[in-house]
Structures are given as C-alpha cells and as structure tokens.
Symmetry: C2
Subunit: 414 residues, 2 copies
C-alpha cells in the first residue's frame, strides 16, 4: 500500500480566485512521482481556526500532510501559530534562518521591517526544512507516525524545498517500492495518444497509465507499486518501451524534460547556434528558450517582427513576397527563418507567423492559422497549423509547434 497524502494550501487569494493553485499542482505531481497516493487537496483561508481544522482533519485521514502558505512577513505567522497549536508547541527562533534574513536585507541595502523577524520562527522541536531561495524556513512535525510538512507559499521557494529536502526524504522513507515514468510527447492530440495505448490496461495490468495534455503536448505517465524497487523499475521500463515504440517521434523526452531543455542539450552538445524571428507568438518562443539556464551559449538573438516593416526591414523579407502571399503564409515563415539566420549568422533560424486573434481573421485566413519555419544550411522546412481557441492558447500552441519543429529538425526527423 502506498503512503496516502493530503495537500493544504493556505491563503484567501486561492479562495477568492485571485491566484490559481499552482502550488498544489506542483506538490501533487512531486508526491505522485515518488509513489505517494494523493487523496485530497484543500485550500483554506489564512485564519487560525480554519487552518487548525484543516490540519487536524487531514492528519486523521492521511499519513502525510503537506501544507503551504501563510509564512510571509505581512500575512503574519498565522500558519505557524495554528500548526504549533495543533501540536501543543510554542514558536522559537531558528538562528540560521534569522541570519539569512538579515543577510538578505544587507544585500538589498534595505532596512529590515520588524515583521520580517517573524519569518525565522518555527514550532519548538520541529525539524527545519532549509529555504535556499528565500527567507522563511519550512519545518516538519510528526504525530503518531503521521507527518506534517509545512512550506512557504512562494512558488520558487516551495519548489526548491520540495525537490531538495521533501522528495529525497520521502524516497528514503518509502516502505513500498514504486516506479514512475513520464513520457513527454508533442504534436499528437490526446485522443490519438490514448488510442495508441488503449490496450495497456490488459497488456500491463499492474501499471497505471495517465494522460495529461497541456499547451506543450501530452504527458503519458506510467506508474506501478510493488514490494521490490527493481521489479517496479523493470515493469515501468517495459511498459515505457512499448509506449515509446507506439508513439514514435512524438516522444521528445522523459521526466522533467521540456522541448526547450531538449533543444539546449542538442545545441550545446553540437556547438550550434540559434536565432528566432516571431510574429504572432510576440516573444514567447524566445522567452521559453531563454527560460533554460545556459541558453545564452546558443541563443544569440530574437526578433519580434510584429509590424510588417520589421519583417521587411530587420529580416529582409521581400515586400513583394508579403504583398503576394501575405505576412501569414508559408512563404513568409520561410523568409523570416532564413532572414534571421543569415543576419544573425547562426546555424538555425526558427520562425512563426499567424493570427493570434481575437480579431484580424478572415474567411481565407482565420484566427488560429499559423505557419512555422526552420532554416539551416541544408534548407528550410515550414508547417501549417490551425489552433482553435483564445489568443493566449494560440500563442502557446504556436510557440510549442515552432519549438517542436526545431526539435524534430535537430533529431534529423525532417
């Protein structure tokens, strides 16, 4: 039997819909990836009684409760007060945390507001969880073999603490063995991915299969539980090999791979360079590429050619081409990719041009119509796509399509 867990996120911004609960999604993903069975997520207001009730209820049902939020300087230490009360502890100062806070204010050259001192308090006897990214430390408390892990609500801090302390600890503690394999795919709709693996429940009865679509593609998650880690690993590996075989070139990576990180790996290994020319994606392709640390080694420049003057002036797209085929055309996508490649002197040029919407569409060139292009020494390839939703979705899907075109080009698939 896997460990059962519940997640509690604290803060009225979740309840009033001002913030989407990405923290719960991240924690749920990480817990699931180490074989923990997440049974419930709760979001409660940052007041002491609601937090106490939520923590007590969760600890009655689950072996592990992960709680985030309400450790900041203005929100006061209400989460810590409530949790300390649940466990009948008082709050004590954690010296190493206090030093970090004072050092951070020195570095920013700002005076420390007294409230910031509260961030260094944790319940007496709790095991601290170091916060490498920010100021407020997390902590772990146990009761009757059940564990409560309390982390800050700031996503970058919580994520680092999950990956550096919580996940390794859970892996070590796990009584039952488990294995998880996530295959990242791009370019196939969820229904096609599902159909290709529809016989998996009978083919691999001990392996749970999940399909998770988003704007970057569909993730196939294979998970199994058992007594021996080796048996689990072998089981998901076999299922993974069959799945990868069925899904073919749509599979671009595993685990936490992204199209951007795969592109980084291939370009850095081969010492090649990239420039981007984008129109409808408005900078998103360059943004995603530069989200990867070290991208400055191969990404030299990006041009957001929103106005046609930028396409002709900066990218050397012939005015006549724009007049003949229009800015949203395979011809323009090709010329943009070639233009940015030659002006930047890079090995690859990547482009996207289309109609993000909501306006600007026509019967012949509707909203969501996008052309992408990739140019290198051996020539230029273009693709046509039609996305069917709102402006942001069309931008995201267009950027994904362009990054996947480059990925397939780098792999020699096209």
């Amino acid at each position: 039997m896997p460990v059962t867990a519940e997640i509690i996120t604290i803060g009225s911004e979740i309840l009033t819909g001002l913030t989407v609960n990405t923290n719960a999604a991240f924690i749920g993903e990480r817990l699931t990836s180490v074989g923990v069975d997440v049974r419930a997520v709760a979001a409660v207001d940052d007041n002491e009684s609601d937090i106490r009730k939520a923590v007590d209820t969760a600890l009655e049902r689950a072996g592990l409760v992960v709680c985030t939020g309400g450790l900041g300087p203005t929100k006061d230490d209400v989460t810590k007060k409530a949790v300390a009360a649940c466990f009948g502890r008082r709050l004590v100062l954690l010296p190493e945390a206090m030093e970090r806070i004072e050092a951070a204010f020195r570095a920013m050259g700002r005076d420390m507001a007294p409230a910031n001192r509260l961030q260094a308090l944790i319940p007496e006897g709790a095991e601290p969880v170091p916060n490498r990214v920010g100021q407020a430390p997390g902590f772990i408390l146990s009761r009757g073999g059940r564990e409560l892990i309390v982390l800050p609500g700031v996503p970058s801090e919580m994520r680092a603490m999950m990956d550096e302390t919580v996940v390794p600890r859970l892996k070590a503690a796990a009584g039952t063995a488990s294995a998880v394999l996530a295959l990242r795919t791009s370019g196939l709709p969820e229904s096609d991915v599902g159909r290709k693996l529809e016989d998996f429940p009978s083919l691999f009865p001990d392996v749970r299969v999940g399909f998770y679509p988003d704007s970057t593609g569909v993730t196939v998650r294979l998970m199994t539980f058992g007594s021996s880690a080796e048996a689990c690993e072998n089981r998901v590996r076999r299922a993974g090999e069959t799945a990868a075989d069925r899904l073919g070139r749509a599979v671009y990576g595993t685990g936490s791979d992204s199209l951007e990180s795969v592109i980084r790996r291939v370009l850095t290994e081969s010492g090649r360079t990239l420039a981007v020319a984008e129109s409808c994606t408005g900078g998103l392709i360059s943004h995603r590429i530069t989200n990867v640390p070290g991208s400055s080694a191969y990404f030299l420049r990006g041009i957001v050619a929103y106005h046609n003057d930028a396409k002709t002036g900066l990218l050397g797209v012939p005015k006549s081409l724009v007049e003949k085929h229009g800015a949203v055309s395979a011809e323009c996508a090709a010329a943009m990719a070639e233009g940015v490649r030659s002006s930047a002197g890079t090995d690859f040029g990547l482009s996207a041009t289309g109609i993000a919407g909501p306006s600007g569409g026509s019967a012949e060139k509707p909203v969501g119509l996008v052309f992408i292009g990739c140019a290198d020494a051996s020539g230029t390839v273009t693709e046509k796509h039609r996305f069917l939703r709102d402006r942001l979705w069309n931008k995201e899907r267009s950027a994904t399509a362009a990054l996947d075109l480059l990925r397939r080009r780098l792999r020699g698939f096209i």
Copy 2:
C-alpha cells in the same frame, strides 16, 4: 452575514498535479464578486465514496456548495451517482438534454455512443442548469436551506453556466449586499504596502483588507458586506480612496487591470507607438505586451539582444560603451532603449539588461542585478534593480519593472 460557500472539484488530474485547478479559481472569483464568502476549496478523486464524503462535509459547513467535474461520457456519471446517493435520489433522464446530445451527433454526422446517453441523466427533482456550450447539463439540489450546485468540469461549459445561470441566481437570492474593490500596485514590496495600510482595520472596521503579492506587484483587495448595496459601494469607495492616496503612484489600476492593459489604454488613446529591446528578460516583455488584444496597433517590434553582437549590431549600442561599462549597466540600458526607438521609429523605446542567473554573476555585478530604460522624445530614464531569486523570478520581476517604468513615464510621473 454573507452566504458561506465551499467549492469541490472532482478528478484525479488535479490531485496528481498535471492539471492546475483553474476551475476553482474561476468559481471562487465569481462567488466572491457577488458577496459570497468562499471558505474552502477541496479537490477529490473521481470515486463515489470520496465524492460523497466531500459533499456531505461541505454541506454541513457551508450554505452553498459548488461542485464541478465527473459529468462527462468517459468519466462515467460517478459524480451524479455520488450526489444522488447523498440526497437519496435516483437518476432520471432530462429530455431537453437528451435532445441536445442527439442533435449534436446529428450535426457531426456521427453515431452516438451509448455512454453519451448518461450525460442527459440528473437526480430526480433536481433543478437543471442549462449547458449552452456542451452536452452535460448541470443541476441544483437543496437540503435544509443549503444548496448544492453541480456543474461540468469542462472550463468553457462551466464558465458559461456560472455566468448565465449561477451568478444571476445568487445575485437575486443574496439577502446581503456586498462590494469589492481591488487596487493593483507595482513597485512597492508587500511589507511596505502592508505598513501603509496597517491602521485600516481600525479606520474601516467593516472593510476586509487582503494583500496578494505576485511577480507583477501587490494587489490590495477591499471587501465589505451589508444590507444596502449603496452603503457597501460607498464604504469600499471611501476605503479605496484612502488606500489609493496612501499608496500614491504605485497604484496603476483596479479590478482586472494589468500593467500591459493600462499601457495599451494610454498608447491607443494618444496614438503613440512602442518598441522593446530586451536582454535578460529574453522576450518576456514583448510577450506580455502582445498578450493584450490589439497590441499590434502600437507595439511595432521587439529585439531580444541576447548576444552583445545584437546589442551593437541591431541596436547601435557603441562597442566602446559595452567595453567601458559592460552590457549590464545603466549606460547600456539607455543606449538599448534609444537604439530600438530610433531604428523602429517609435515614440517610446523600452529596455532591460541584467543577469538572470543562475550563473554569470560576479561580486560587482551579482545575479539578479538589472537595469531598465525608457526613451522618448524628451529624453531617457533608467533604473537599477536587484532581484534575489531564481532565473524565472528574476525574468518576471525585471519585465514587470520595465513595464512599470513605461507606465510611470506615460503617466508623467517621471
């Protein structure tokens, strides 16, 4: 006293973290906007016993429970089974829903799978909630003056049903009036915003104040409940005026305003144009500007000058300047803003250059150091910032700082 509500979202994709719970955020925002006091959000797996427990628990605590998910043809009708069991009802066919489903399949020219018939079932005696977007109807059940509203999990369907049926119904039913005002600020840390309004609980005892920080700034939300709508409006307006006065030029808008949407308004009203030159933000500034529909009217081009050759070649930043001051300097930020403005022929040029990290920092120029610039006919202003977190956070905060610099320049504050 306002009506209290709890939200339940059903589906394992939320628990395992590969779907972010945007439905709960949307419902929470809509309920809050009509003065409903959302006390908790719960996400549970799509199995009958978990759903029954969650619904029974929520109905014990709250006057209103809104439940989404598990009404589709593939997920079977497990949500309806569970809810019908909670209320001791059987499921009956809703003829008008059945007709809609059959008509949809006729329109697609496809045969209807028997499973689709399940979508037309609702608990006996329940009040149907029409689904204009999709097939599965929602429904409303009451018990002891408490209401349960069940909606599909498909966002486009759920959203339409909330706005067309649920929200108008709640407005009509609301015994209490309410008013909400959100002030959007940028440039002040949460602790400063909190300090400036720390006497609000005594100054405006009937107004709830909430602070919601993210990478775009801090949102101050003021909310009040009462018997008369007019009294509520006046109360939040007075509190809002005091808050705006205290926060001064940090306030850039209200409600759903963003820095990008405010920039759009000012530039379109005055018929002026913008070009962007960015380094450490890697395209994020252009991406955020182009997320706003209609941005093509004033945003002409963006340059992601990642390599110094792009700064000197595309933006005309003198090599000597880069050699003397470095690419991460106020001088380079100014030259980038002026360079992109003159080459694009726009009214404004906006720039950002810095060290996003994790590597590339030095004692003199540490990770998180960023210079931003804004150039127009009257001259160029630059600002220095130091952000202290990970790469993505530094990119987001740098983009926000640049957009806010332009906002303040457009408002004549600097």
